[in-house]
Amino acid sequence: MNDWEILKRLDMVKAPPDFEQTVMARLSLRKREERRKRMILRWSMAGSFASLAAVFILLNIFVFEGRSPSGLAEKERDAASASSILPAAEERTIPIIETLDYRTEIRSRSSDPEAIFLLEQISDTTSGEIRY
């Protein structure tokens, strides 16, 4: 026999007679509390999601709408149409005509008797003006 069996003879305490009723009462109370907590949690989660969604929608309307690519394209289109309606007179052209003296060109080459310069017009169009 195990020597330590003697420990089993120690004073054994028992649960009080109303132990089970108390546990069941505490259980129903705790269940109600848990249900309430779950409800609060659910509503607070729903509330936070709803406010997040509201913030997102408001940001979309008031902040992101102005920066959207379609918005930018619209602005560009507006600017282009505004420039097209400017009067034609406002477009200014400054004609600059530079004259060429071919005699000096020939003179510089005159020391070379074998060189013959044929100067002829190679284009039918008149010389265009240089525009700035």
Partner: protein
């Protein structure tokens, strides 16, 4: 209906099955927590909380260990937390002292051989909870060392050592008490 079937029913929310578990384990758990805390009122309160946790955490129970081990593990964790809280308070209330004095009078089942039992009781009370709990689980509750290791979440070697040291302390204490009279052991 066995324990496994009962806990399966509790997992489904069956309060009748839960009531059966409470009836089956209430005395053992109250006694165990009384050995743990040394305070009957606290033991009853912690036992009630233990059973409430059994109900609400039934879904976490895995049938790899006996249900009894799981319930004892919950009770041990609660008792440890309670003892830590009490230690933080760092004061002994008058209620605690009164509870300790009343200890001998609470639900005594076997008044026979009261001298030896009294000495044994005193020796066990004097033992540090670190050693007392494994000894109580082994020699009073009848768990194996492996089960105690599971309940207390300690390695089996540690449990073996603690049981051995606890027993040798009790033996020394009882020998001294028997040699020098009942109350000489306290001196």
């Amino acid at each position: 209906m066995d324990d496994q079937e009962l806990i399966r029913q509790v997992q489904k929310g069956d309060e009748v099955a839960f009531g059966k578990i409470v009836s089956a384990y209430k005395d053992r758990i109250v006694n165990y927590l009384y050995q743990f805390t040394g305070d009957y009122q606290k033991a009853v309160e912690l036992s009630q909380e233990t059973f409430l946790r059994v109900y609400f955490k039934a879904g976490q129970y895995k049938p790899v260990a006996p249900l009894s081990s799981w319930i004892y593990a919950i009770a041990s964790n609660l008792a440890k937390t309670e003892m830590k809280k009490s230690r933080k308070l760092a004061a002994v209330s008058l209620d605690d002292i009164a509870a300790h004095d009343l200890r001998q009078n609470v639900h005594v089942e076997d008044p026979a051989d009261s001298g030896l039992i009294k000495n044994l009781r005193e020796a066990l009370d004097a033992l540090h909870p670190r050693y007392r709990i494994p000894v109580v689980l082994k020699d009073i509750e009848g768990f194996s060392q492996e089960e105690i290791a599971q309940i207390l979440k300690k390695p089996v070697g540690t449990i073996k050592a603690r049981i051995s040291r606890g027993r040798s302390f009790l033996k020394r204490r009882l020998e001294r008490a028997l040699a020098g009279g009942t109350y000489a052991a306290r001196a």
